[in-house]
Amino acid sequence: MHSNIKATCNLFRMAGRIRQFIILTLLRCPFDSLRTIVQATFLMHAFDSINSRNLNKLYYACGLFGVLCLFLFLYNGTVWMLYAEYVTRWVGAIRRKLFEHISGLSLEQIEARPTGEWIARLNSDVNAATALLNQNMHLPHAIVSLVNISITSVMLVLVNPELFSLIILFAVSHILINQLFIVKPLMKLSMNVQEAAAENASDMNALITCADTAILYDAQDFLLKRFEKSSLELRKEKMKIQHRKAMERGLLSLMGMSGYLVILLFGWRWINAGSMTFGELVAVFQYRGSLLAGSMMFITSFMNVISAQAGVKRVNDTMSLGREE
């Protein structure tokens, strides 16, 4: 873990603009929690208004909800726009610096590794490493989800501490199983994918560089079969990652649904006992949904960050190759 953090820091240092990244991530942090609080509070007040047949209170809740949603929409859109611009420049900076570094290496260093290796270092490694910030769920999502989980937990404790304990019980066991069977093997699998991609690029390169010899010795089929074999190997390694991700989705459904049923059972008892209103139960579900979504977002983005580490480490490895003066 320590080496992963160090490698990520090195990558950010290489690309520069660290302050801008921190500011943009901080700006993104409050959105999910604010949205959850707005939605949960609205639902709690709306259902309480319906229960007490207070139409004015319902109108007020709906109006306020509309205005707050509009504000959140504008805020989130603006931050995302700035973030997208930042990521484009960040990826460009990494690619440029890596290319500059490789161009400065000696011929001896270049020839010590297969062409496919260099192609992979310039393309798939950069793509894998920059996935830290430019895939669907990435590093800032992990940070945002942590903030969301913390704020939602506080809100849940305030509404109903017993249900919060139950939700946490399910969430923690989910994270532990996930860590053991999905996150850990994913790092190794991602590294295997990068290595298989390099070998595949090398075999593809041989189809062109060895073309005349292959034609003379009727070896095109041989080279094609090698390329096919390494392509299949690459696909097999990618499939292993997909299997783990499918396992993760299955686990999510299983843990999510069982937790939902348990809360429903407890909520029904407490509503019957008069210690909880229906509006409060709906708000609990809203907070729970946000807490689980935050946990899932954290797990997914954490897994993606772990996958990206294969690329980050290889980019750092390339940048650490000494250049001849």
């Binding site: 090398s202 060895c210 010899t213």
Partner: protein, 219 residues
Amino acid sequence: MSIYVENLSFAYGDKQILHGINLNVRNGESIRIIGTSGCGKSTLLKLLAGLYKARDGIVEVQGERNPDKIRRQVSVVMQNPILFPASIKDNITCGHSKSTEEIKRACDAAQLSDWIASLPDGLDTHVGERGGKVSGGQAQRIAIARAIAKDAPVVLLDEATSALDGDTSKAVIAALESLTKGKTVVSVSHRPDDLMEYNRIYWLEGGKLFDAQQYKSNL
């Protein structure tokens, strides 16, 4: 006739490389073509190897004019041989099924056996990309073993002896002698040397082919 070339001309786009080349090589005969860099030696060799199609003139090798069929009749060895990023064995067999005996014979003839025996993985040793894990001499002998294993009646040598020195030279020359024994040989080079014997020597200049003796007397 093993190789028959009549009035062969060749151009890369507007740039004319070969002009009206005529050449006859009998079975088992070996000839050498000498010429400066850029005179068209390698282009002529590629035409003889069936890598290029003769559009102007005739190229016939072992009675074949179709480049696909010509390629089956020739083996080519270059100064800087191109090796596949695969094992020594795969580089010799080119993925074709060859018996262990055939591979061993090719290795013996190419003076490779002692070196291969010293390798931990033997014939399965990976040569690296562009032969990066073997020396130039070893790469050339692997290419010779590949040519021997193909057992084609015509052998084309492209600067195959141009960069030889010291001990490597002896091993490569011995390998080349095994390869060319009893075959029709066309060797192209940018300078004359006495490393191998030839029946005839030609001079290629300005895209035209001259008999070397005649060329000297004309000069």
